[in-house]
Subunit: 318 residues, 2 copies
């Protein structure tokens, strides 16, 4: 989700023209609430609810020939749920708005919705309802709601914290690159693209172990590190060789700039060490890897073999 | 909103192919919650929250040359808010997902969002955030949340109740017909299309005065009467000549099949009479008109001068 609030504006890292437009749009917000991160945090009857939405459009975010409809539905649902994980919220339900051409309504649509429903059920959420309209291109917007006891925002990182990432990166980027080159991606990269697993329980564990800031990797590792650095008012240094890559990912850049990973990027205090990371890995069968540090300053600096590296722009599908 | 739940399936009146597809889709719902009406009703922290979403697509639901961008934003926001009014909920906030072509991002988009924000503020709600993506056609999906103390559903009408409608109908239908014919609509019809007013306070009043069932007129009066009749398991008889028309609306059919009115259709017990309707009219400067009755049976029967009439299909934009 893009937060629209005035407070959130400085939280945007540098980015494309569309990012700058988001910033302008946010400054408009005379009717916007003073909340905002990956999800909006809303107080309802003594509880806090996290709410987020995520819109995906055919030809812009996905192509119909890359995935089975149920895989596509899972992927879009999981992408929205990941925004809840990014604030340490527990999903409870979702609304799904779908536009489809009439020719896709009978076979494609129920499969797509079944996939969305399974992504919700996987994290304990239900599909409450939604809207169904005709459109020329497939468009799916998922709004997710979750309970959040104590949100972890992007803005809490402190100088001296270390930067950690869950999982192994680069799979989705290489899968898309393969499809665009007319090849079938290798199995592990395809699986990471087709069935991302929102790190909901992992986020709660990180919160309970002292995470000071949290964000999900949707715009690419360096892009989201930029958002976190800007929101927290710290500088982040990332050692490229420490970023864990999915087996078979050939290009190390894929792990740094590839988007839509839906892994978590967290800052943790210096006391959090390898033994803690080992406990995380044992609990979730998922690596938790230290990839850098927070210091006074601003921006994201990536080094490789001790030398600064220039990276291509953040991941974009087409 | 289209409810996806198994329970909601019989609540669909007869309709187009897309309605039948919605019904199939709903039956899928192994992960769907047992809630569903115009909005989903969710229990959070001792309160009930009503949630709904409404997707509008350029060329399908609107054209960019009919309205100013801010009017379009208001209209889309109000349309979503009307789903909360339809269950007697009070709006608190919304998420807004928007897809726009790059050429519309700088001037059109902030105006559109300002209109959405004003529609929210008008009913006491704020814009929490949303998503912004590039797309070929403009697409806007609004998710609204509201507090609901005691929802009034579509399903509570009883034989012997009378059927009432707020406002004067036919304006939006005639406005669209005029644009499609290359004419500018007359001012009142255009205003009803450009600035619909969700009947939030009116719905609370109707609830407090005994409304047994409630729905907003989004699919056309007879279409929504069909949904209400199906959900309640009653037959509804409507006298066409009693349906209030906006001044300047030439065709009486416009008031019966024209969609996107965002007025309320309510059933009220027989004890509710003209004096009560007068109190409503005085309070809200809006007529409340008795247009028919509920009886044992099913379906909607429309008469004119005592004779049954056949109506064209429910309103469709293009």
């Amino acid at each position: 989700m893009t937060p629209f609030t005035p407070r959130a504006t400085p939280a945007l890292g540098p980015g494309s023209e569309f990012d700058r437009i988001r910033a302008i749009w946010q400054r408009l917000g005379p009717h916007a609430a003073e909340v905002g991160d990956d999800a909006a945090i809303v107080h309802v009857g003594g509880e806090q609810l996290a709410l987020s939405c995520d819109m995906a459009i055919e030809g812009r975010h996905f192509r119909l020939d890359w995935l089975h409809p149920a895989e596509l539905g899972w992927r879009i649902g999981a992408s929205a749920i990941s925004d809840l994980a990014a604030v340490a919220a527990e999903p409870i339900g979702m609304l799904v708005s779908v536009g489809v051409p009439r020719r896709l309504a009978v076979e494609f649509l129920p499969e797509l919705m079944a996939g969305v429903g399974r992504s919700a059920a996987h994290t304990g959420a239900v599909v409450w309802g939604g809207d169904l309209v005709q459109s020329d291109a497939v468009v799916v917007d998922v709004m997710v709601a979750g309970r959040v006891a104590r949100p972890v925002l992007r803005s809490g990182a402190l100088p001296g914290d270390a930067l950690w990432v869950t999982g192994r990166l680069g799979g989705p980027h290489e899968a898309v690159a393969a499809w665009l080159a007319g090849r079938e991606p290798h199995a592990e990269a395809r699986a990471r693209y087709a069935k991302p697993l929102p790190r909901v329980r992992e986020a709660l564990w990180l919160r309970d172990h002292g995470a000071t800031a949290l964000i999900d990797v949707s715009d690419g590792l360096t892009g989201d590190a930029g958002h976190l650095a800007a929101a927290s008012g710290v500088a982040l240094a990332i050692a490229a060789e420490s970023v864990p890559r999915l087996p078979g990912v050939e290009h190390w850049e894929s792990a740094l700039v590839g988007g839509e990973e839906y892994e978590l990027l967290a800052t943790l205090p210096p006391a959090f060490g390898d033994e803690d990371a080992g406990a995380f890995a044992a609990r979730f069968a998922l690596p938790l890897t230290r990839i850098g540090d927070a210091a006074a300053g601003q921006g994201v600096r990536v080094t490789r073999g001790g030398q600064p590296v220039e990276l291509p722009d953040a991941f974009s599908h087409f």
